[in-house]
Symmetry: C3
Subunit: 458 residues, 3 copies
């Protein structure tokens, strides 16, 4: 151990390119990470310059574009404001806290989620707006804000796939590229193909998941193929993650109904999502115990697979599939999602060289696919006569194809060596990019002080 | 201590029926619990079978019944959707986190609350719907979703009484029985007696509390009569519980007004609940310091008694009792609730053999009674001329009577020995039913590492 | 250390007036604090009497005044109920959790925030109502509840300035005085000067900040001029604080638009605030890394400065400043706020003898000023023709002047020695006023038990 504390300083110098030491030797305690940053001038001085320059440059560009194009819409859309606020909470609290399950990555999970979403919604307004200009003006109302939040959801899903192995700089770049590509695919699916995807199973969930997986594949880190010491959770970090899970679960009916066309369609979307989630939650709990060798519930499944029903019912949410139809879709999704976490994620990591930190493939990828397939079946059953099997299939196909190609392309850019990527041994560690408080005895830890037996007396 | 680590393996074999060792000898560290589960094949293999079978069986039955009976309603009830969402947050975040105060039971509190509510709302739709069928069809809209969430509230209140001493399997069974009985009592009170109970002081709060207390009495555990090592809170678990408290407190006006008949009644219900809660909060703080020997605030009181005003004003919420009337009810409830925690709960545990983990009797039981009595007085004062003193009294009486009988009956079923009940020494311990993360040094605990002095330098 | 444990008992006796020992000698562990309280009879017995008497006295007075004056309004304002609920969450969850960043002060931050807001909203209804009586009656509707919540916001901002150095008794007194003065200033600004301040940059944010800073100046503690051991955060306390940050950030558009006059103005206020916050968040992140010597993000900045855009755009929120105008205001605020935390707060503490615990000057003070100036510029540019530069300037001037004078006056009252102020060495420590749980090994800390190596085996 005494020797160990010198190793990392050395390792930082070398491992930028490739990490030659076995992980067992790598010290990942925050103190070490902090000291590393100190002893490695290149690391922080460049971050101190690059990040602010990029962020401020992007904000300046956005403000100029807003000044040139964006005006208030005169249409009164305040009736959807409560739905917007539900979606808004999902984006910032839901996605943000869902990713706080990692023991040493809470600041980054909720903080970088915050940063990326704040950038993404501004960029989303512009990119979505460019497709619907009136006399060279983008007219925005509360409906536009819902769509802007939606476009950030795709990025945040992709963020979950690469969580802990990327820098804030990389995330800003990914947000710009992904939202640009997302807006094109959305236009293709909705306006060109005229497919139905009210809850965005295909255009947001499947798209975001496969985009993120493609990025993860390109920035694959061989040194982490046996996992990483920081990748686990602790008790309180799992509790924080449940805050994200529940707010996502609760407001999902708003997400799936926010842009529904008619009053009937909107109420159907709310009801279908409500029951799909409830049914999926029961099957997720049941499957979690079933697949766990020791017959216990696994927090990873409860935090994620309980939401799969909301993803899967998305494309059909506003269709006349009847509540029991929604429940069938939801319970299937809950089952498949848990199975994915148990069997597919390890396979992806070992065989496909895709490290999926949050298992977004199981929460958004497969359930998104399932949602697209459900919409094809719904079209085949003619639950609504303006639905085309071909168009739904085309929408699903191009969403995934564009996501994979776009993700791979974006991944190549993110793979460039000068984006302040975290060293392998400091992955999943806040202290690389955050001032982490030095711990003093808090109430939580005071138990361990030597004189505790006396305390027990009163 | 070295000897201690062998004891539990032995104890598990014996204590299923009765626990013969003094608690001082029982080891309750999660690691131990985990090892126990490992060394006790019966425990987890059967759980692994029984829980999934029951959960999936219930979901299949529900989906079939939905397929047979449940259709969309054509009435547009989207105007109550924001109220529904507030209630929805109360059920899953409010009740869920309120119960996370136990130091080792956060996963179960928020997780099993999640499971039970997801099952309960589906079952509630059916059981409430059976009372209002149109040509053998149950027509559901957003209003039905509010009532379904309401029916789960009763179960979650009862859950609080037996928290930590029951298995997930028992909770699924309790949910099915309690909601069935709840729906009958609700029909009796609202449709037959035509009593007023807008905020459901009687039909949800008093009913849920006394149902849970009856169950707790039947499944009483003598071995825990001197309390349990795990029953306390830690600093962070008390913080998590405040999340539940605040979201319950904030959205209570929505809970009490969601099903109000007229616009006036609804606005009155919102205003009355707002002031009843505010007044009750002040008296709860004052009483907490008053009853604590050392003149300090007790988190248990702040987490619970501050909500009593919302319970107590429920039955009268939409009546013309004037804001100051609501404040009188609220401040009385805040005072009584704290007194109940201080004096009644110990009495219940020692004399009546009722172990009430969350003190639901003080938060829902007595304040629910108070609410019923307030509605009787309101009827006597003729604040509204269609109110009948007799009917209000009958509603209160039958709600409590049916709750006690129904709870006792359900308790007998839950007392059967094959529901995977937790061993006495593993009560209030997540690790019996959950994979609990093995702790590594997180930032929170890194302070205690030997080399901390060096850390202090930077 | 053995010696240390006797020191505090002595110190408590002496330090009420002045603390003569170097902080390094002062022991601030909760156990110590708890024992102190025990060994100092005066401390808790008087608290046990004074607090309940004051709280109950205030509640009785309020109920009597409500009985005399407050009636239901017949106007149906349910359309603003969702906006009210958003503001309500900001007041209790937003402000409450934002202040939980201190390692040992979470109970007080969220708990006393809860108490003060519950008192404040009742007092606010009366004080604001007295300015708009109809035939000696105060008619309240949901709009009045929004304004009542607003009036508590000013107090909670001031609370942030003195957090950790005051007693619950002092906070009740401050709430009564501040809301009284706030209501007068609000009347002056809105009704007399007829200035525009929809989002209350001046009347709530600047007012609350400078009121709190004036109080902080008067109750300055020389013994804490070199800081305090408890003043830092721990990992989980910073995570809890992010809950407050995000809910404030998300619902700020509701805060700034809740009392907008017309549909157009309201939708503009929502849109402008949405973009001001998003732009301010990017600049806050960029500036945080820029000013931190080590090129890392500082949680204090992320928790606070990301909100400055919402404060600064407040006064102009409903004006026709165009989205890019809102973004300019927001990004300026994000930059200035971080700079304030970095350079101004230390200067205030050392030179001006103003200890600003939460840095409210940087989050509410300067951005509030900026908001007022922005409204003056907007008036000069005649973005709306009924705006007067003079009146806006007068509104800003009198808000700050009245806040400073009122705060100084209130501070003198709070400085009286019999309000159960915490001893210097127990500042920022819950255990002075709260029963703090004795820690047992929780999952979070179980790792550190001596026998941990054995645990590691399974």
């Amino acid at each position: 151990m005494g020797k160990g504390k010198f190793l990392p300083c050395h390792s930082v110098v070398t491992q930028r390119n490739i990490n030659i030491q076995p992980l067992s030797l790598i010290i990942t305690r925050p103190q070490t990470a902090a000291r590393l940053a100190n002893t490695d001038p290149s690391s922080f001085t460049t971050m101190r310059i690059k990040f602010p320059i990029l962020a401020i440059f992007l904000e300046v560009v956005i403000i100029i574009l807003f000044g040139l194009f964006v005006k208030y819409d005169t249409v009164d859309r305040r009736q959807v404001y409560p739905l917007f606020q539900d979606v808004h909470v999902m984006i910032f609290v839901g996605f943000g806290f869902l990713m706080t399950f990692l023991k040493k990555y809470g600041f980054s999970s909720v903080g970088i989620n915050f940063l990326v979403a704040a950038l993404g919604l501004q960029w989303g307004i512009l990119l979505q707006g460019f497709w619907h200009m009136h006399s060279n003006e983008i007219h925005i109302n509360i409906g536009s804000m819902i769509n802007a939040d939606f476009s950030t959801a795709a990025v945040l899903i992709s963020f979950g796939a690469v969580l802990g192995r990327t820098s804030p700089i990389q995330m800003l770049i990914m947000a710009i590229f992904e939202i640009t590509i997302f807006a094109c695919n959305e236009h293709l699916v909705v306006s060109v193909l005229q497919a139905t995807d009210t809850g965005a199973s295909m255009t947001i969930h499947a798209f975001g998941a496969y985009f993120g997986l493609a990025v993860a594949r390109v920035i694959y880190r061989p040194a982490l193929k046996n996992g990483h010491k920081n990748e686990g959770s602790v008790y309180n970090s799992d509790m924080f993650a449940m805050i994200g899970t529940l707010f996502l679960w609760l407001f999902w009916p708003s997400f799936n109904s926010a842009i529904a066309a008619t009053a009937d369609a909107q109420q159907r979307a709310i009801i279908n999502t409500y029951f799909a989630l409830a049914a999926g939650t029961l099957t997720a709990f049941a499957t979690s115990i079933l697949v766990e060798g020791r017959g216990k519930l696994d927090m990873v499944h409860i935090q994620n697979a309980t939401l799969a029903g909301g993803v899967a019912v998305g494309s059909c949410a506003d269709l006349n599939i009847l509540p029991f139809g929604a429940m069938l879709i939801g319970s299937t999704a809950g089952f498949i999602s848990v199975a994915g976490f148990k069997y597919l994620t390890p396979f992806f990591a070992s065989k496909l060289k895709i490290q999926d930190t949050c298992g977004v493939h199981n929460l958004h990828g497969i359930p998104g696919l399932l949602g697209g397939i459900a919409s094809i079946i719904a079209a085949a059953l003619q639950v609504e006569n303006n639905l085309s099997t071909g168009m739904q299939a085309a929408a699903l196909g191009c969403s995934i194809a564009i996501a994979l190609v776009g993700g791979a392309f974006t991944g190549l850019i993110l793979h460039l060596p000068f984006w302040e990527q975290p060293p392998d041994q400091n992955c999943y560690d806040d202290s690389v990019y955050w001032e982490v408080p030095l711990e003093e005895p808090s109430y939580e830890s005071s138990f361990h002080l030597p004189r505790e037996p006396q305390q027990a007396q009163h």
